[in-house]
């Protein structure tokens, strides 16, 4: 090679370093658009239809986390999104890759988690011919996405990606699917325009600022209240309004209860916090909702697990409902004062408008009495580890500052009850959809979003086995997630319902045959522990939870322990069973 040519090559290389590569094909355009959106991490799994995308990713890297199953990838993206406040980005191939995402997409839809999901699709020319690995993912995901797109031409890609991120992250957040046929991913980018500066979405204009007159009405209703309660849901967290909520509640001396997903919007040990409400909420929180005269709902959707029987829900209350999604207002509970707005903006306006704080002294005293008389309870059993005790221990060791994720079921309810969160955005749980197998991969995403944080995945032995393959990620990246398996050798919540409502016919809910979870974790080169007694629990939890390494803890807990208190299906939330020890 002559010197001149060598120099030219060097200069070209320097140029390539300075300026981003000109996109050659659709996949390059996609990567460019993702970088424009500030995407730092992608969760995904390659396959035939996304080969061009993965090739572009190889040339222009964005950190890619290779899950071991697409469901693991998307739950990790959900955990990442919930904790970071940024949209989770997922890539999967056509057909089975895409259909494996369906549970995660639905989960994100139900819990309003911003995701942008890119699925490969067979080439445009063979769509509709039942081609290899073809699935109508647009049709499949239409009812479970906030919006979805199939890219029809490579020129549309920059606009669609920008719209997808905008739709996923604004208003009420949610998942958006972008389906990219393989030929479009490899099509020449010669005539592809830059991303548009302005988006044209005439059908999508979410309301952000509250109506002033409605705020005034709400303020005056609250000022006259004798027994007001705030129900704070996930909308408060999505709006980053935890400090406004706290200030508002403290100024007006109004007690707060949370939905499951709203936990963390007020510190767990705050004097105005009544605990979670609903099916397994605290007695005090449920009685407060049942007896209040004004119910201020901020960013909660009156889910049936919260309200119980609607006929008996908050019978004396004038309902004020702040929600960014107008369709949630009045959906389940008749609402006197609807306020369509971002929770933070609405709270700021309420503060500004606020006059005399209501006189809530007697009401708070009454609720305090209830709290004292009917605290959460369990019966100690020296021969077993009780899951409630284990969670209290985890709380104490991590000082309530950990990021905690869960699946669905008994362990989830106990975590909600006993792990008092000190901070917002450190609680990642599958609420609306109730997805088993969610908690562990979600913890991986949460840890990747916050590498410095301590992340604890509390899971059951049932749910953990649904996505346990993601242990590979802990091994590969040394992600220091702590997996706590509350192992009762059963599907605890199913068992509890069978005990309570099906005369103890434990149909298919007992799983005495299990893998050795310690050996399983060790197979992935992870440190693993087993806890059998309360005596050893503290030392092991302390060592495992406080280490900088990943850890799996098989915590054998008492079988047939039930979550109390409880509202039976069809009952009002004031009709709780198991309110105090028998």
């Amino acid at each position: 090679m002559s010197t001149v040519v060598k120099m030219k090559t060097a200069m070209a290389a320097a140029d390539a370093d300075a300026a981003p590569m000109r996109p050659a094909n659709g996949s390059d355009v996609l990567i460019r658009s993702l970088k424009e959106q500030g995407v730092e991490m992608i969760f995904g799994y390659p396959g035939g239809a996304v080969l061009p995308i993965y090739d572009a990713l190889y040339k222009q890297p964005i950190r890619h986390i290779l899950a071991r199953h697409e469901q693991g990838a998307i739950h990790a993206a959900e955990g990442y999104a919930r904790v970071s406040g940024k949209p989770g980005v997922v890539v999967a191939t056509s057909g089975p890759g895409a259909t494996n995402l369906v549970t995660g997409i639905t989960d994100a839809m139900m819990d309003s988690i911003p995701l942008v999901v890119f699925t490969g699709q067979v080439a445009s020319g063979v769509i509709g011919t039942d081609a290899f690995q073809e699935a109508d993912i647009i049709g499949i995901t239409q009812p479970i996405t906030k919006h979805n797109y199939q890219v029809g031409s490579v020129e549309d890609l920059p606009r669609i990606v920008k719209e997808a991120f905008h739709i996923a992250t604004t208003g009420r957040p949610g998942p958006v699917v972008v389906d990219i046929p393989k030929d479009i991913a490899s099509a020449s980018a010669e005539n592809v325009p830059d991303s548009p500066d302005v988006l044209c979405l005439p059908g999508y204009q979410p309301t952000f600022y509250p109506n002033f007159l409605q705020i005034r009405k709400a303020a005056s209703q609250l000022a006259q209240a004798k027994r007001p309660v705030i129900l704070a849901g996930a909308g408060v967290l999505h709006a980053k309004a935890a400090s406004e909520l706290r200030e508002f509640a403290e100024t007006n001396r109004i007690p707060i209860t949370n939905t499951l997903l709203g936990l963390g919007s007020i510190p767990g040990n705050h004097e105005l916090f009544l605990g979670m409400a609903g099916m397994h909420g605290t007695y005090t929180a449920n009685m407060a909702l049942s007896e209040c005269d004004v119910l201020l709902n901020i960013g909660a959707r009156f889910d049936d697990r919260l309200t119980g029987n609607l006929e008996r829900f908050a019978p004396h209350a004038a309902v004020i409902h702040i929600d960014i999604d107008p369709a949630e207002i009045g959906k389940n509970v008749p609402t006197e004062i609807p306020i369509v707005a971002d929770a933070k903006e609405a709270l700021k306006s309420l503060m500004k408008e606020g006059g005399q704080p209501p006189d809530t002294g007697a009401w708070l005293e009454k609720l305090g009495q209830l709290e004292k008389n009917f605290p959460l309870w369990y019966e100690e059993d020296p021969s077993h580890v009780l899951p409630q005790q284990a969670l209290q221990l985890i709380h104490d060791i991590t000082e309530g500052n950990a990021i905690v994720t869960t699946d669905v079921g008994q362990h989830q309810m106990w975590t909600a009850q006993y792990y008092g969160l000190n901070h917002a955005d450190r609680w990642v749980t599958s609420g609306g959809l109730g997805t088993m197998g969610f908690g562990f991969p979600a913890a991986i995403g949460a840890q990747l979003a916050k590498p410095e944080a301590r992340v604890v995945a509390v899971v059951g032995d049932g749910g953990f086995q649904m996505t346990a393959q993601e242990l590979s990620l802990l091994q590969e990246h040394r992600i220091p997630v702590k997996v706590v398996i509350l192992n009762n050798e059963a599907l605890g919540m199913v068992q509890q319902w069978q005990e309570t409502f099906y005369e103890e016919r434990y149909s298919q809910s007992l799983i005495p045959v299990q893998p050795d979870f310690v050996k399983l974790a060790e197979a992935y080169d992870l440190k693993a522990y087993r806890i059998r007694t309360m005596q050893e629990a503290e030392a092991i939890f302390r060592e495992a939870l406080l280490s900088d390494e990943p850890a799996v803890i098989d915590c054998r807990v008492k079988r047939q322990e039930n979550v109390y208190p409880m509202v039976a299906p069809g009952r009002g939330i004031q009709e709780m069973i198991g309110v105090s020890a028998p």
Binding site: G139, Q142, P143, H147, Y204, D325, A327, P334
Partner: protein, 171 residues
Amino acid sequence: MKRVITVTVINQSGVLNRVTGLLMKRQFNIESITVGHTEQPGMSKMTFIVNVEDERKIEQLVKQLQKQIDVLKVTDITDKSIVLRELALIKVSSPPHARGEMNSLVEPFRAAVVDSGKNIVTYQVTGDPDKIDAFIDLMRPYGIKELTRTGTAAFVREIQKAPSPLLSILK
């Protein structure tokens, strides 16, 4: 109760599916649906007649439709002064000896004969759904061979009278 809902949408592929899918997901019963282009390029208008139990359900339906990104405008026009029009094609057996009688019967309906055979005649009739129902009843004794209806399209009238009872089909 029946409600008439008009929906203006951006004319993109899949939008009809999106709207009807939403109605199915939320368990709404669609009585009739029509779709077509509007005066604005790229926009389509749908007219639904849905059967709902109460006010809250209809409010929920309107809000859910409004949430769709491709939906520009949703209006429940039931309680307004509106024009409702539907077209039906009805193939009736019509032996030569009865044809004169039939033609005079259908005249008040301003039905047009759009096709005829030796013993068969096809009428086209337009009007509000009540009128179509009445026409069908009238033809039934002669033996209806085939029947197809387009579904109802609706418009809000230019001049709105004071609130009046709904059209009978909407009760």
